[in-house]
């Protein structure tokens, strides 16, 4: 049998939310077409580091394994992305894995993305359709609008745009690009539009729209190619109009 090829992973680990991070190296047997997650699974199966010491298995988060859930995001060779979609054959060796630094680390590569879900609540990123009676079908949506709104709906709250944003950090309360784009998605929906001002009010609250400094890293790194900066500019315009309506008064300020 030919000599077993290996893949080297250098992983930034952390035992608990408050403990100090450290690097640990692992050599994992190579398999054709393996992704970063299958490498992590090998480590879990056989948690022995490159020095031959037995260690704790590396913890990470995952769910769908097809780049639609956003759970397995981590920084791979300096680039924040989904580990399920990161094929080892396409990566430079050794492969460096770090947790996304914008979020609190739970353990090893597992991060807590709760701030993103809080932000979605702040901008009311949903469509309220519950009533005491059947509200019936909503208005129809123009096909052209549906096409670009569909692109926005691909957001999986993965956190990559927040990781790349220079204004999302522990010194600022900026909610980041993703929830701003989600507010645009639900404001573009014909039923969601009926509550448009509530989402704009959420965007005008602390940490909202004005936290954006237009560095535009988000649109470059989004794994789904969502036009985040267009969304931010669109919400900037909508918020401007809304604030004038609020101040001067308007029958269309809903």
């Amino acid at each position: 049998m030919a000599e077993q090829k290996t893949v080297t992973f250098i992983i930034t680990r952390q035992d608990s939310p408050d403990s100090a991070p450290y690097d640990e190296t692992f050599n994992v047997p190579y398999r054709k077409n393996m992704n970063v997650i299958s490498g992590l699974m090998e480590i879990r199966k056989n948690p022995i580091n490159a020095k031959g010491e037995k260690t704790t298995p590396v913890a990470w988060d995952m769910n769908c394994l097809e780049e639609v859930c956003g759970a397995c995001s981590m920084v791979i060779n300096g680039v924040p992305r989904q580990s399920c979609a990161a094929l080892v054959d396409e990566l430079e060796q050794p492969v460096r894995l770090e947790p996304m630094s914008t979020f609190p680390v739970v353990r090893d590569l597992v991060i807590d993305r709760e701030r993103m879900f809080d932000a979605l609540k702040q901008v009311k990123a949903w469509i309220p359709i519950d009533g005491t009676y059947d509200l019936g079908p909503g208005p129809r949506m123009p096909e052209k609008k549906r096409q670009w709104a569909y692109e926005l709906s691909k957001c999986m709250t993965c956190g990559v745009c927040l990781e790349a944003c220079p204004n999302v950090n522990d010194k600022s309360n900026f909610i980041g690009p993703a929830p701003i784009s989600q507010a645009r998605l639900f404001n573009s929906h014909p039923t969601g539009e009926m509550n448009a001002s509530e989402r704009l009010e959420g965007l005008m609250e602390e940490g909202g729209l004005v936290g954006c400094g237009n560095a535009q890293n988000c649109v470059q790194v989004c794994p789904k190619g969502i036009p985040l900066t267009t969304s931010i500019a669109a919400m900037n315009r909508a918020a401007t109009v809304q604030s004038f309506k609020n101040f001067f008064g308007s029958d269309n300020a809903h």
Partner: protein, 205 residues
């Protein structure tokens, strides 16, 4: 408005950078350009500006207060950013970084410049060509002024782009790109006007 304090202050910050601060800066550099047409020409223009009716009120409300507000909030904005151009070397990210660097340089430059000119005039120095000539014939001060003027003009030009995006005027990627080219042109033209004047003061040509 009270419940959207941060929103209001940040939008005001963006607006003040263009109107009146940006407009004032362009006007200031254009008036100074009279120096290129000769000492007398500059003195006449400077005297006209200095003797405008309500000049102190104009200075306070069009220059001092807006710049003070823009500077204080601006330093805070610089402080809350965590620049990452090494990891994400995109053009816009560099411009974001430079916007913060030039903001700080411009603040230092303006503080020095106001002390050296407006404060000295208030204390009795005469406002004329020789005041600036005296400052700028020193090569160290000349280069300090070159860096200061370029920083201020860059900060204004790039800030103009930011203003158009932050107020939602330029929304599509195409419009944002064309505005980028337009603001590069603004940077080149206004920089030329400013630097040309500095050269006249320093070298008399």
């Amino acid at each position: 408005m009270a419940e959207h304090r941060e929103y209001f202050y940040r939008r005001l910050h963006s607006l003040l950078g263009v109107v009146p601060i940006g407009l004032f800066m362009v006007q200031h550099l254009v008036i100074n350009h009279f120096a290129v047409y000769g000492e007398e020409s500059f003195n006449k223009a400077a005297n006209f500006m200095h003797n405008l009716p309500f000049v102190l009120a104009l200075e306070i409300f069009i220059i001092y207060l807006p710049i003070l507000f823009h500077a204080i909030l601006g330093v805070y904005i610089v402080f809350v950013a965590k620049n990452n151009v090494r990891r994400y070397g995109f053009v816009r990210n560099w411009l974001f970084f430079l916007q913060r660097i030039t903001g700080i340089i411009t603040l230092v430059f303006i503080a020095w410049h106001v002390f050296e000119t407006r404060v000295q005039v208030a204390l009795g120095a005469s406002l004329d060509y020789s005041l600036m000539e005296g400052i700028l014939t020193n090569p160290i001060m000349f280069w300090f002024y070159v860096i200061g003027v370029l920083s201020a003009v860059f900060h204004f030009s790039n800030g103009l782009w930011g203003f158009l995006v932050s107020w939602g005027i330029a929304q599509s990627p195409r419009s944002q790109k064309i505005v980028t080219y337009a603001t590069i042109l603004v940077f080149l033209v206004v920089s030329y006007i400013g630097i040309r004047t500095l050269i006249t003061f320093a070298y008399g040509v």
